[in-house]
């Protein structure tokens, strides 16, 4: 009797898990437009590399998905993170931000990486390249600061 219940329970779990796979969130996979940061400003290859490795998965329209990101419920968890990330800062629509928004965001890029509040721990855990070194943080901050200053001086 007990074994039968356990067996049925496992079957139920498997069925639910399989059924869940048919319900998937939309994918964050769009081609970059002319509004993308890299197309609106000069960003060095080094900084582009850091941004791609540590930020763009959640702060742009193009996520580099890993195989298990396609499995529900992980897919939904990732989907939520991307939505939140893009709401705060989306490099794909960088050209559409106002000058003040850009300056504020650049300041945050530097501050959050310095304070290690970004990238998120849950992200760096599986994305080792996103674990920024002190040198990379410095490079990123220098870029953010000089770009913000450049924007300030623009009429």
């Amino acid at each position: 009797m007990f074994r039968k219940i356990t067996f049925l329970f496992i079957v139920l779990l498997v069925v639910v898990f399989i059924a869940m796979q048919f319900f998937q969130p939309g994918k964050n996979l769009e081609e970059p437009t002319e509004q993308h940061l890299f197309n609106t400003a000069h960003v060095s290859a080094e900084v582009q590399g850091i941004l791609k490795n540590a930020c763009m998965d959640c702060h742009s329209n193009n996520t580099n998905y890993l195989w298990y990101h396609k499995i529900s419920p992980v897919s939904w968890y990732i989907h939520k993170h991307i939505a939140d990330g893009k709401k705060a800062l989306d490099f794909s629509v960088w050209g559409g931000y106002s000058k003040l928004e850009k300056i504020g965001m650049l300041d945050e890029v530097c501050e959050e990486t310095k304070e290690k509040t970004m990238p998120l721990k849950s992200y760096t855990w599986m994305h080792k390249k996103a674990n920024l070194t002190e040198k990379e943080i410095e490079t990123l901050c220098n870029w953010a600061e000089s770009y913000a200053e450049e924007l300030l001086l623009e009429k």
Partner: protein, 136 residues
């Protein structure tokens, strides 16, 4: 008799003057708050003083709060920092992240009303524009 009357009225007058001074100073904000009350327009400063300044100043024991934003150091912030901090002010109060829930449990009257949030965000926009304009 006349002298006693004079002495009495003189001391009464002296006391009245003394009292008016002491009660007068009592009505002024605590000295530490002057810095914030003079930074921004009165309606903005009043809200900030009531809901934010308690943690976001140099004397605060909340290290994270003053590291994130310290109004005592406001004048020392660079233009970029100011713009960044201002943006964050509007964002965190709109998202109800600030003032923090724990703080509001102790001080429920410090919760920002929708009108106050609107007023602060409007000010954030104007103040950032002003700061950047003054640069050029």
């Amino acid at each position: 008799m006349k002298n006693i009357f004079l002495a009495l009225s003189a001391s009464f007058l002296a006391m009245a003057i003394f009292l008016s001074f002491t009660t007068g100073t009592k009505q002024l904000p605590a000295p530490g708050n002057d810095e914030i009350l003079n930074l921004f327009p009165t309606e903005v400063s009043t809200i900030l003083n009531n809901s934010c300044f308690q943690c976001h100043n140099s004397d605060s024991k909340n290290v994270d709060a003053k590291k994130g934003l310290n109004f005592s150091e406001w004048k020392k912030y660079s233009v970029i920092k100011k713009v960044g901090k201002l943006k964050k002010v509007c964002e965190t109060i709109t998202e109800d992240e600030m003032p923090p829930e724990k703080f509001l449990e102790r001080f429920p009257h410090k919760k920002l009303t929708d009108e106050q949030v609107k007023l602060l965000c409007k000010w954030v926009k104007e103040e950032s524009e002003k700061i950047v304009k003054n640069m050029n």
